[in-house]
Amino acid sequence: MRFVLAALTYFGYLFIITMYSVKVVKYLRLPMHLRSEVYPVIPGDKLSKEKTYYENLEWWTKLRQQNKLRRLWFLFSDYLLLAEYFRRDRGYWLVVYPWHIGFIFIITFHILSFFGALFEWFGVSVAPNSSSLFGIGLYYVSLATGVISFVSGLFGSIGVLINRLVRSDLRDYASPQTYFNYLFLLMVFLSGLLVWIFADPTFSEYREFWKGLIAFNPINVGTLATVHILLFAFLLIYLPFTRSLHYITRLFGFLLIRWDDEPSLPGSLLERKVEEALKQKLNWQGPHIQSGSTWRDAALEEAPRGRNGV
C-alpha cells in the first residue's frame, strides 16, 4: 500500500502542476483583445489615488498613474476576505468563506508538512519540545493550519452543499458534477479531521509519510491517514478538470481584462501588435462581411481605400 500511496502522491502533484501550467500558458497565449475595462480599478479603495486618465484634459499629454502594487495587494488580500460576497450575500459568505479558507489552508498545510518533513530529514525536530525555535514554530503553525483547514473546510462544504440544494437560484445552475465536487471536498476535509482526532493529533505521522516521500522510501501509515492521503492525491488529479483554476485566472481576469487600461499610443509596441492582429483573416459568413479578407481590409471595405492606417 505504501508504494501506491507514494506513487499516487507523486503523480498527483506532478499532474496538477503540469495541468495548471498548461492551462495558464494557454490562457496567457490568448490573443490581445479589444479593451473591455470596468471601473473602479480598486473597489472602495479610498487610499488609492488612481482615477481614470480619461478625466484629464488631453490625457495623452499627461503621465498615467497605475498603482500596480495596490492592485495586486487588493487581489491577494481578497483571497482571505471574499469581500464582495460579504457585502452582497452575507448568508452565502458564511459558508463559502470557510469553504475557501479550508481549501487555501489545506494547500498551505501540505506545503508546511513538506517543509516540516524536509527539516526533520535534515535533523531539525518539528515538535513542541524541539531545540529549534523554528521547529517549534513550524509544529504549531502546521497543527493550526491543518485543524483550521479541516474544520473550516468541512463546515463550508456542508454549507455550500446545503445552499446549492436549498436555494433554487443556485440549484438550477448546478450539475451532478457540482455536487460531486462538493462531496469530494467534504470527504477530503472530513477524512483529515478524523485523522487529527483519532489517529494523528500532532500530524507527526503525516510528516513521517512526507519524509518517506522525500527520501524515496515510502512508509505505511494508519488506515485513516491512508484514506486521507488517497483522497487528497485523487483531489490533486481531479482539480484540473474543475473550475478550480479560478484561483489563478481571477488575477488575469482583473489585471489583463477588467483593469487592462492600456491605451495604444502612436508608435507604441501595442500599436504594432494591433497592426499585426489586423492582418489576420476572418471567416465570418454574414452577408455584410467579405469572408476570407483580413480584419484590416474588412474594416476599410466601407471606407475610402488607398489610405494609410487601420
Partner: protein, 535 residues
Amino acid sequence: MSKRIKVSDMGREGDPLVEIRSQDLMPIPGISANALQEPLSKGLTENQKRELECSLDGFVAIGIPRPKSQQEEEALVKKFLEGLKKLFEKENNWTFLQPLVHSMEYCVKCQLCSESCPAYVASGRKEIYRPTFRPELLRRLINKYIKGQGTFLRKVTRSDIELNFTLIARLAELAYRCTLCRRCTQVCPLGVDNALVSREIRKLFSQELGIAPREIHEQGTVQQLKVGSTTGMTPPALHDIVAFVEEEIKEKTGRDIKIPIDKKNADVLLLHNAGEFMSWPENIEAFAILFDAANISWTLSSEVAGYDAVNYGVWYDDVQMARVAVKHAEAAKNLHVKKINVGECGHAHKAFIVVADRVLTGDLNIPRESVFPLLEDLVMSGKIRLDPGRNNFPVTLHDPCNIVRLMGIAEPQRRILRKICPQFMEMEPHGVDNYCCGGGSGFAIMNSRNFKDWKVHVSGRMKLKQILEAFKDVLDPTIKKYVCAPCSNCKGQIRDLIDVYHLGQDHNIRYGGLVELVVNAMADIEKPFIEWESF
C-alpha cells in the same frame, strides 16, 4: 406561467416562457402598477405572432421569421453552430476571445451578480433575465455541440440540451434583453463578464447569420456607412440643419455665430451624436455658443459618418464597429485637426475612445477624448462668466454607463454641476455604480413592434425609480426639475420614461444635456437658454 423556468426549457416549443405582468414588476412609490394595460407584451398583430418568433417573453426586438421547412431549420442550426465555433477561434475572434473564454470557463454560478442587474430585478426577477442564464445556456450548447461531450459527460455537466429553431431564436432575442450596462461584471469577484457574453451572442448572430435588429444594423451601421448617419441625415441635410441651428442661436441669444464645418487645421473636431441634430438641436446650439464664447478653434465635419458619432457596431458586430470607427478617424484625418472630442453620447465615448483604440493605427490614431474634461476646463477656468443663480432649480444627474463604469469618467461632470447648479442632487447609486437608463446597447432607438413597452416598463424601471427618489422632496409640480442626461441615447430613453409615466405633467420633471445647463448659466446671455415651455 408560474412554473420556474430553467435553462433546459429554452428549446421547448409553445407559449412564451415568461409573461411580464404589471403586478410582478418592481414596485415604484407613486407609480400605480394597475395603470398599465395588460398584457404588457401587447401590440403584436396576429400575423406577426404567427410569422415571427416571439415565444421568449412575448416581446420582439429582432423578429426572426419562423423557418418554412425542416431543411430551412436545419440550415439555421448548422450556421448557428458554425458561428458558435468561430467565437472561440483566435483568428475569427481575437477581438474578445480572452474575455469570453475567461467568462465561459471560470464563472462558478454563485449568482452574486443577479441583484446588480436592473432588468432582472425590475422584471420581478424573471429567471430568463438573470445575468448567468444566457452564459449557462451557451456553456451547455458548447459542451454538447462544440466540445462533443459524450452521453455520460453531458449528464454530468447537465448539457443534454436539444438545439432547434425555437432555442436559437429565443437566444437571439434574449441577447437583446441585456443593456450591456455591465453592473453584473462590476461585482463579480472572479472577473467574469456576463454582459460580454450577451454581446458576443449578438455578434455570432450578426457576423455569421446576418441577424440583428433592423434599427441597429440596416437602419443603423449600414445606413451610417452609406449615407453618413443612422438618422438618414446626408451631408447636404447637415448643412441645412446647421443653418437652422445658427438661426435658432440668433433668435435665442442675439448672437451671430457661424458654426464651422470642414474647417481645416482646427484644434478640435467635435463629434455629435446625430440624434442631437434631429431631436435636441439645443445641445448643438449650446456647444456652438460655448465654444464661440471661449474662442475655441473647432469644427464639425460633413464627411460621411464624420458628423454622426454613433457607432452601433460596439453593441453587436466587430466588423461594423471597426468600419464606423475608421470613418470617424478618416474624417478627422482629412481635416488635419489636432484632436477629436466626443460630444454628449455615451456609447460613442466607449466605442471611439476606448474600444477602437485597438483598431485605429498609424495616421488614424488621432488623439480622442471626452468632451467633459474640456467643458470642465471652460467652466472652472473662469473664461466664461457664469451665474449659478440662473440654474436655481433641482437638478439630478443620470450617469451614462459607457462614460462612468466603462471609462471611469465620473467627476468632471459633477464638478461642473456642483459649480453651476445650486440645487444639484445625486441619484442613488451614482457614478460608477449607477443604473442604466434602460435604453443602453441600442434599446433607446429600438421602437419597432412592441419592444418599446419592454424597455420602458422593464429595463427602464430602475431609472424611473431613481429619478423619482432623487426628487422625492420636490415632487410638487409647481417646482420645475431637470434630469441632466449627458448622452443622446439616455436622453431618448428618459424622454420615453417621462412621456409614458407622465412625469412632465404630474411632477414637472424635464430632461436635457449638460452643456445646456452651462450655457443657461452664462451671465452675459440675456434670456435663459433653457426654454421650459418647449419640453
